[in-house]
Symmetry: D2
C-alpha cells in the first residue's frame, strides 16, 4: 500500500547431483517475492546446458506446473525476483540475465544498483559494446566478461570486476561449472547461504528463503566477500573484504526484509520491535490501544505496546484477496480502494484513543484514508507513530526512494504532515536512534534520511538516464 | 490451511437509478471472498434484461476489466461466491442461478443448505421437472416458481415456498422489478442490509461487504423475515418470524465470518476475543508468549494474552503470496508446503514456553507440522489452545463439516490428539462455554459439536446423493 | 466471409468397452467445426457417471491437452458444435445439455430448430417448468422427460415426444445405458452413422466426421427414424418414418456441409459441381478464366469450368492465418479486412475476362470489395455467377437466414445487385434447377428461396422471442 | 504438413507523420506469417523512443487488441516473423532485436543466415563481446555497431558491415531517424518496397505484404543494394551491387513464398504453374484427374492439368481448423492426424487414375498416408508428380533443409521412394529444368538439389553450434 520498493531478490543453488533445481528455486523465489513483484526468472544448468524461463509477473503467474516440469534436472540454478510498480516495464530486463561470451556461458542475478553504471556503460559503448537491456546487470556482465578474457578463472574475473564496480551489488553468478556469490564491499544489500541435508548449497538474499527450501542457514556473505561453490567444495575469497566501511541499508530492517529473516546476525522482527520501543520513549502517547497498519506496521506495534504498556489490538483487517488483479473503483462508484483493502474493527476502535503504527509515510494519501477509516469507526483520538525517520533524499543503491516532490516529508514539516493526514499527534523515529538499532554504533547507510552517501553519486536526474530512452513491453 | 468451509456469500443491490451495478457487486464479492473461493458470479438487471457472468475461480480470476465493463448499467443486481476445495467442481453449479419461468425471469443467490432437499427434489422429478445442477438452489427456484403460478406476487411466492423449505437458507432473489432478501426461520446463516448515500440498498451475508461498497449498515434481516426492495421502498414481511427458535451457526463467529463483521448485533472479533478469554480461564498455561496461527488464530490470541497477561507476539509469519496457484513441493524435494506458507520468528520463539492459539484442529496434519516448525525454531514448551470445541458431527446447514474419519477429534481423545500433534498440553473451549459467547444464553446451532440438530436431518450418507452421480467440469 | 450460418453439428459414440471417448469426440467435432464456431462441448458417460466440458469457442480453444486428459474413459459420449457470430453469446446455451430427471440423467445434442418451440415452452411454463437456457433443446429435454415419466423406455419417450415436436431436429441423446439418434420426419438436417474396426458406433451430422475418427460409413438415419444403440446391438424404430414428406435443407448441399461429405446418398462436392454446370448453361459467360471465391466457391468453379470449357484458375488466395482472433483495421489505417484476407494473383487476372463463382451473396459488402480487388489486379471483365438462387425468406429450421433488410436480394433486383457490387454480368442459379440437383425431383426445403414452408411457422418476429429477454455471457 | 521451413519474414515502414504504425506492421506480418510461425515481434519508433512487443507464437497469439493499442503512434516501425518447428524454442531469439550502442538505439529484423556467422562470433567474443541470443542477427548488430563507431552514418556502417558478412541476409534496420533496407549481394532472399497513398513507405519480404497494408509495389531491392528511408526521401546505395552473382533461393518460388507474391519481377504462382507444365512434359501420366495436395500442390496441379489436358479436380479437402493447438491422436485411438487434416472426395476419386501433385516429399511419412487415403477412397492408379527436384544437401542460407538422414531422397532412389510411399509412378522435376523456370538461364541457388554452394560453407555439423549449447524457453 506504499510506494517504496526494494529492487530485487536473488537465489541460487548448487547440488551434489542433478535434482529438480527449478522446483527448489521456485520455492526460494516465493519466499523472496516481497523483494520484487514485477518479474521473475529461473535458469537451470544441466551439465553446461542452460534452460531458462523469465517473464513479467509474480512467481505464481510466471511459473505454472507445466513450465516447471519442462525444466530438466540440474546441479546448479539461479533465480531472481524483480520489483516494479506499473505496466510499462520491460521484459528484456527480466533476470537472471544470460550471456554467451568467449569462455562460455554465464547467468547473473543481481540485487542492488551501481552508482557508477553510467560511466561504465559509456566506456563500454565506446569500445563497441551493444546493450539489450537498460539494467546495470548487463554492465556487470560485460565487465566480468572483459576481465574473463585474461583472468585465469571466472572467480578471478569477478574479483577484478569488483575493482571497477561501485555501489550496491549482491550478486549470484552461474558459470557452466560454478556458482558464485559476491557482495559489494559496503555490504549495502544482504546475502547469505545455507545447506540442505542432501548437501545442496543455497544462496539467498534473505535467510527466510533458505528455510523455505529446507536449508539450514550457514552464514552471511561478508561485505566484499566472494564465495565460490564448486563440485569440490566452497572457497571464500576475501581480498575485497574490509576495503570499505560497512553500509547496510537500514531500510532492509525497517521495511524491506521479511520479519522472520535474520540479516548479518540480527533478527528483522526484533529490530522492528526495538525501533518501536525507542519510538515509544521518544514519542510516548496517552492512549487506549495500539494498532498496527497491516502488514507493514504490525511488528512495530508489538514493540510500541510492550514499551508503553498500552494494549496491542487488531483494529484494522486487511482483505487478503486484494492483489495485483484487483480493479480499482471508478470515481462514480463513490467508494475507494482503501475501503476495500482495509477494514476497521469497530468494537476495538469505538470511543478509543488509538496509537496507529506504520513504518513509513510516503505520499500521505493512503495514510489519510486509513486515518479517516479509523475516525469513521469511532476512534476518539489518533496518535500516529512511524518506526523510521522521514526520507528526504534519493537512494542510488537499489531502492526506488526518490527525491521527487511526491514524498510528503520533502515538502512538509512534521506538524504539517500531521494536519495533512488528520492525526492528533505524529512522531517519527529520530535519525540518531536509527543508527543504534542493532546494538552496534554502526554500519548503516542512512542516506535517504539525510545521511552522507557512502559513494560518489550521479548528478541529480541522471538516475534513470537509460530508462528514459526506452519503453518496451 | 484448514479444510472446513463455509458454503457461500451473497450480495445484492437495488439502486434508485441505473448505476455501474456490476462494479459495486464486484467489490461486495471481494469482501465476501472468504465465504467461498470455488466460483462466483454476478447478474445485473437492466430494466428486465438480465446480463450475467459466472465461472469457477476467485473474484479476481473470474472478473477482469473487460468483463466488468461489458456489463450494462442496471438498477438491481445480485452476486455470489461459492466455496470449493479441489478441482473437480461443476461450472453448472455456479450461482446466482438464473431461470425463466411462466411469469418471467428470476435470479437466485443462496447461502445455506436445505435439510429436506432430497425429498423436495424427488417430488419435483415425479412431476416432470428436470435439473441442470446438483445444488439445492435449483430446488428452491422450482418451489418458488411453482408457487408463483398461483401467487399474486413474487414475494408471496417466496413466503409460500418457505413453508416447504427446511434447513438453512439466506436468500437473495431478483425478479425483473424487485430485489428480495429472505432468511430461514432458524436464522442459521447471517444476512443484513445497508444503504449508500446515493440511496442504493445493499444486501450482504456480512456487514463487512456493506462497508466495502460504501453502504451504511441498516440492520440484520431477522430469522424468518422477508424484505422486499422495490422502486417504491422497502417492505418487511414477518409472517415466518418466530416460527422456529433462532439457531445461528456458532462457527460463523468462531471461524467463518470476517473479524470486522458484526452479526446479529455482535462483533465477530469481539466474540473471538471473548472465547479466548474463557478458554484462558478454562485452560490456563504457564508460558512466556502467546502466538496465534495466522490468520485464523490471531483474534483469539489477543484474547488469550489479555486474559492471561502473557505477552502477545508475532511468532509465525504467513507468506501472503502463496495462493491457489501455488504448486506443492514434490516428495523428492524434501521440503513441504507448510514450510513455505508459514515461517517462525526465531527471536520470538527461541527458548520460550509458547501458547499457540488456533480456532480448530481438523485433520491434525497441518497442525503437527506447524508445531514442529515452532520446535525447530527453539520453542521450549508448546501449549496449544483451541478457541472452539472439537467437532464430532456432520453439518447439514451449509458447511462441509463432515463426520468422516479424517476429523481427528472423531477418532481420538484430547490426550491422544495432544500426543499426535506433539504439544505439551492441549485445551479446547468447552461446549458449555460456546453457548455463552454472545452474552445471551442462546440462539446457536451447535450440532457439529455434538448438540441437537435443529431440524430433521437426512439419514447418514445421503448428504451428497446427487454429487455422486455427476462429475462435471 | 459470409454471414449465413448453420446452427450446429452433433456427434455421438457407443463403444463395446471403455475407451478414450472424449478424444474421439474431439476429432469428430474438429470435422464438424464448420457447422458451428460459437461453442462446443463433450459429455462422456463412464458407467452412468457423466463428465462434461463445454464452453464458448472453437474446439481448439475449448479443449486443451489437460482438459481432454481429465476426462475418464467411457463407453458412450456425445459432442456438439454450435454456431455464433459475435461476442454476446450465452455460455448457458452450450450443448450438449445435461439434465437430471426422475429416471436418471440425460444429455442431448441437437441440430435444427423447432418451429413450435414457443407454444411448447409456454405450455411447459404453465405447468411450473423453469428454463435455464434460451435454446429449444431444453424444450426437447422437457418433453422427453415428461413422456419418460410414463413411457417404459427412453426410446419410447423419444418416440412419443416426436409427436409433439415440429420443425427440424437431428438429435443425439445419451442416457446412462443407451445412445439414441433421431431425425425429424421431414429430415431437414442430415444425420448418419458408421462403425469403427473396434466395434464403436459413431453418429454424426456429416459423414466427414465418421471418416475423421476412423469409422466406416454405415448409412444415413432416415427422416423420422429413431436408432437405438445399446450394449446388445442396434435397433431401428421407424414408426415416424414416412409420416411427412422429406424436406432436406438444400443449403446443406450448396453451402453448409463439407464438400467431402455424402448426405442421403449424394456427394456434396458433386452436387456443387452439378449446380455450377447447370448455372453455366443457364448463364453462360464469354470469358478467359473461371475463378472461385475461396473456399466457398471453389467446388462450383470446377463445375463451371468443366461445363463451359473456360480454364479454372487460382485467381484469389486466402490468408489461412486470419481467424477469429484477427483484429480488424481501424478506419484511419486506410486498409481493409478483405485486403488482408483475400489476395489476387495478378498474373492470372491481368487483362482477363473473369468468371467469378461463389455460392451466395448475402449483404453484398464483402462481394463488392472482392470484385474491386479483381479490378485492381487488372481484370478486364468480371462475370459473377452464384451457384444458388437468391434467398428472400427467413429460415425457421436451424440456420440464421433471416428476412432482415440486410439481405441484398430482399431489396434489390438482380440488375441492381450487379450494379451495386460492380460486375459486368450476374447470374444466379434458378429456383427450378435447384430442385433437380440430386437427380430426384424432390425432397428439398427451399423456403428461403421463396418456396413453401413445410410446417406452420411462427408469426414474423417471434423467431427470437427468448433471445430478446436475455443477454448473458 | 511438410517439415521444410523458411526462416523469416521482415516488414518495415516509414511514415511522413505519426500513424498507428504497430497496426500496419501487424497486418504486414499477417501476410508474412507463412514465412515463420515460431515467434514474431514489432518495434515502433516514436520520435526516438522505441516500444516493442515480441513473443513466441503466431501473430494472432502474440498481438491482442490491448497489446496493439498500448503501442504509441510512430513514424518508423519494423516487424518480424520467425519460423520454428517444435516447443523448445528461445524467446530471447525473437526479433526484431533491439540494442543500445554508443550512438544510440537500433532495431534489426533479419531474414537469412550468415555462412560465416561462427567466425564472426568468435572474433567478437575474443574482443569481449557478450551474446544474449544464439541468432546471427545479434552478430550483424555487433558488426554494424563496431563499424558505426567510426562511420559517419548508420547507412555507411551498414555498408562497411556488408564487407564482413557472408551468406544470406535481407535486413531491415531502424535507427532513431532512419529506416534502412539491405539485401546481400547474392540476393538469396527477396526484399521489396512500396508506398501507400498517405506517403508511408513499406519494406517487406514479399509483395503480398505490401498489398495487405494498402501499399503499391514500387520495386525489389536489388542484390547488394542498401536503400535508406529518411524524412527527406529515399536514397539508394549500390556500392555492393554486382559484387557477386545473383543466387536467389529457388525454393522461394517453388515452396516458401505466397503464390500471389511477385519476386524479382516474376509471379510465384506463374512459376509454379510453369514448373508443373515442364514436369508434365518430363513425366507425363495417363490418368483421369489431376489432384493437388492442399495447399502446397494446388498451383502446380493447375499447371499439370493445363499442360496434360487431364481435368483438374478437388480430390482432397483440408480441414482449415486444424492448427497449432490441435492435439494429435494417441496410438490407442486407432486414427491418425492425416485423416483429420485431409479428407478425400470419394466421388472425384473412385475408380479413377489420379495424378497427385505436390511440391516436395520430405520424409515420406505424410505422403504415404495421403496416398493411402486416396486408395481407400477408391483411386485405381496414383501417379505422383513433384514440382521440384529432390533435395539432397543442407542449406546454409536461411532454411532448415538439412542433410539429415530423415530426408527420404537422401537414402533412396526415386524407384525406392515410389515403392515406399505406394504410388504407381513417381516423377520429380529435373534439376536442369528448375534453372529455366523464370525464363532467364540464371540466378538461382540450387545447392539443396546438389548444385554448388555460392559461398564457402561451414564444415558439416557446425551449422547449429550455438543451438546445442542453449535450450531456453
Amino acid at each position: 500500500m506504499s510506494n517504496i520498493h526494494e529492487e530485487c531478490g536473488v537465489f541460487g543453488l548448487m547440488a551434489p547431483e542433478p535434482i529438480d533445481a527449478a522446483g527448489l528455486v521456485y520455492y526460494g523465489l516465493y519466499a523472496l517475492q516481497h523483494r520484487g513483484q514485477e518479474s521473475c526468472g529461473i535458469v537451470v544448468n544441466d551439465d553446461g546446458l542452460f534452460t531458462s524461463h523469465k517473464d513479467l509477473g509474480l512467481v505464481s503467474e510466471v511459473f505454472h506446473k507445466e513450465t516447471l516440469s519442462s525444466f530438466p534436472t540440474g546441479t546448479i540454478a539461479v533465480g531472481h525476483t524483480r520489483y516494479g510498480t506499473t505496466g510499462g516495464t520491460n521484459r528484456n530486463n527480466c533476470q537472471p540475465i544470460e550471456v554467451n561470451h568467449q569462455k562460455g556461458r554465464m547467468a547473473i542475478a543481481h540485487n542492488g544498483n551501481l552508482s557508477n553504471a553510467a560511466e561504465l556503460r559509456s566506456e563500454l559503448e565506446l569500445s563497441g559494446a551493444i546493450f539489450h537491456t537498460t539494467s546495470d546487470t548487463e554492465t556487470i556482465a560485460y565487465i566480468v566478461t572483459r576481465e574473463r578474457l585474461s583472468a585465469p578463472s571466472i572467480e578471478e574475473a569477478v574479483s577484478r570486476a569488483m575493482n571497477r564496480l561501485e555501489g550496491a551489488y549482491s550478486l549470484i553468478l552461474m558459470s557452466p561449472q560454478k556458482l558464485i556469490a559476491a557482495r559489494d564491499p559496503h555490504g549495502f544489500r544482504p546475502l547469505c547461504y545455507g545447506q540442505r541435508e542432501d548437501g545442496t548449497y543455497c544462496i539467498a538474499s534473505e535467510s527466510c528463503a533458505l528455510r523455505a527450501v529446507g536449508a539450514k542457514f550457514v552464514r552471511d556473505i561478508e561485505p566484499g566477500e566472494i564465495v565460490v561453490f564448486t563440485r569440490n567444495g566452497v572457497i571464500s575469497r576475501k581480498e575485497h573484504c574490509g576495503e570499505k566501511p560497512k553500509k547496510l541499508c537500514i531500510f532492509e530492517y525497517i521495511y524491506f526484509a521479511r520479519p522472520d529473516s535474520v540479516i548479518d546476525g540480527t533478527s528483522v522482527h526484533e529490530t522492528r520491535v526495538r525501533a518501536a520501543k525507542i519510538l515509544a520513549r521518544e514519542f510516548p502517547a496517552d492512549a487506549d490501544v495500539v494498532v498496527g497498519v497491516p502488514d507493514s506496521g504490525l511488528d512495530a506495534a508489538i514493540g510500541f505496546s510492550a514499551q508503553s504498556g498500552i494494549p496491542y489490538e487488531i483494529g484494522l483487517v486487511k482483505n487478503k484477496y486484494v492483489g495485483r488483479s484487483f480493479i480499482a473503483p471508478s470515481q462514480d462508484q463513490r467508494t475507494d480502494t482503501v475501503r476495500i483493502k482495509l477494514s476497521p474493527v469497530r468494537s476495538v476502535l469505538e470511543g478509543k484513543r488509538v496509537v496507529l503504527i506504520d513504518d513509513s509515510i510516503v505520499r500521505g494519501t493512503t495514510c489519510r484514508k486509513t486515518i479517516q477509516t479509523l475516525r469513521d469507526a469511532g476512534a476518539r483520538e489518533i496518535h500516529m507513530r512511524v518506526s523510521a525517520p522521514p526520507f528526504v533524499a534519493p537512494c542510488f543503491y537499489g531502492t526506488d526512494i526518490d527525491s521527487a516532490e511526491n514524498l510528503i516529508a520533502n515538502r512538509h514539516s512534521v506538524a504539517e504532515i500531521a494536519r495533512e493526514i488528520g492525526v492528533d499527534s505524529l512522531g517519527y523515529l529520530s535519525r540518531e536512534s536509527v543508527c543504534l538499532l542493532t546494538g552496534e554504533d554502526s554500519g548503516f547507510c542512512t542516506a535517504c534520511f539525510g545521511g552522507a552517501y557512502p559513494t560518489p553519486v550521479p548528478a541529480h536526474g541522471e538516475k534513470n538516464r537509460f530508462e528514459q530512452k526506452i519503453h518496451s513491453k
